[in-house]
Amino acid sequence: METARPMSMLVRPPEAAAPAAVAGEAVRSTLAPAPKLVVEHLAAGFGRATVLRDVDLAVPERSILAVIGPSGCGKSTFLRCLNRMHELVPGAWARGKLLLDGDDLNAGDVDPVLLRRRVGMVFQRPNPFPTMSIRDNVAAGLRLNGIAGNHGEIVERCLRQAALWDEVKDRLGASALSLSGGQQQRLCIARALAVEPEVLLMDEPASALDPIATAKVEDLLHELKARYTIVIVTHNMQQAARVSDQTAFFYMGDLIEVGPTDRIFTAPRKQRTEDYVTGKFG
């Protein structure tokens, strides 16, 4: 009986690309800014285990790429490959090209420390330095790198960019731990901005925050997009849909699909993406 079959069996996403959409995207890509960050044949893993296979994608300048996928799909590893934090884990390895403005930063002779100043990162849980004041936390990247001086101007600019200035301007000397979770996370964003990165990586930056604090961080993302290229990992699909321009879907170490966010959430091309965004996993 046809009518007894579930909807999902009947409405399949088109595996073969629909011509109209492809034409539209081609036009779009010629209009879009040049890619800031290009990943080519990226593979990564720990010891003998491969957790990421042959990933190719490009992130246009001043745009937000959201990375989604079920737990263990490799999305966090992918993010940590982008600033080479992945290789800090004993036994971890990564291969492939990581082009930032055309320079391969995954090459053996590139100091990852220098890469990390161009590619900043914000973590899942707010992690301000507990021994430092709010001011010193923002300036931490400069001070820890031995750049002396009173970084007042930079501190104010970054706190303003992180939409935190008005809330903390009267207590810059207070401990960073006196802030709420959401404020701490914005402080961490300000801290990342202070070293003037070009790309900002965010690993589930709102997963430990309440909805209001989450909304503030998301609103902030839209502002930051005007200056930075952002890659955000999230397990919250609605968040990916809300904040990003492009969405990449990872599954079991493979990049299944990447495309404009509205397309991924209305008409994905791959069955796995379809299953994931509609909630048909498991």
Binding site: M7, M237, A267
Partner: protein, 230 residues
Amino acid sequence: MGMTHTDRVYDKELQDLRDQLLAMGGRVEAQLAASVRAVVERDPALAEQVKRADAEVNRLEVQIDDACRRILALRQPAASDLRFIATALKIVVDLERMGDLAVNIADRAIDLAQAPQLRPFHDLEALADLTQAQLRKALDAFVRADAAKAEEVIAGDDLLDALYLKIFNELLAWMMEDSRVIRRATSMMFAAKHLERFGDHCINLAEMVVYMVRGTDVRHPHSRGTPGTT
């Protein structure tokens, strides 16, 4: 994998919505058939029945609207689910309008039944059959998520339009021949026009089915963006 949602209650909600849409489609189909029969068989009682039964079509519209809003608010559907809900919200309007058109035809049937019979008019029956077939096909395409069939419906509209034009010209000729038939012929012309409009709504439905299945919008080919452009 990919057969059912992890949350099976969600699955059931989508299935229920689909069943309701099919029930509404079937109801509209029956209304059209009855209204045309009331015209052809000069049966005002049947026409009255059609008018009364429209309340049920309207009730289904409201019910389906509610279900769609609830799913949108509570489930945040995405991808094919989202396209399905979007389709449901659009075609429910078309189906309701089709129901209204059946009522309009029933009105014509009552009007025509009060005057002596005009000469037998088979083209109107043919137009009704064609319209009905279009609706059945469109609903079928929806049930099977068959974009090719939906495209057949879209292509089939030309035939319907041609037949309508023929009827229009014929009735016009009658009226010019004999001014006494003008009132009845006008009624007939309205009925034909209603059927033609009915066919147009079938096209809307078919277009939404194509969108639902493929994720591409086939309406108004020269004046729209494609998905992915914001």
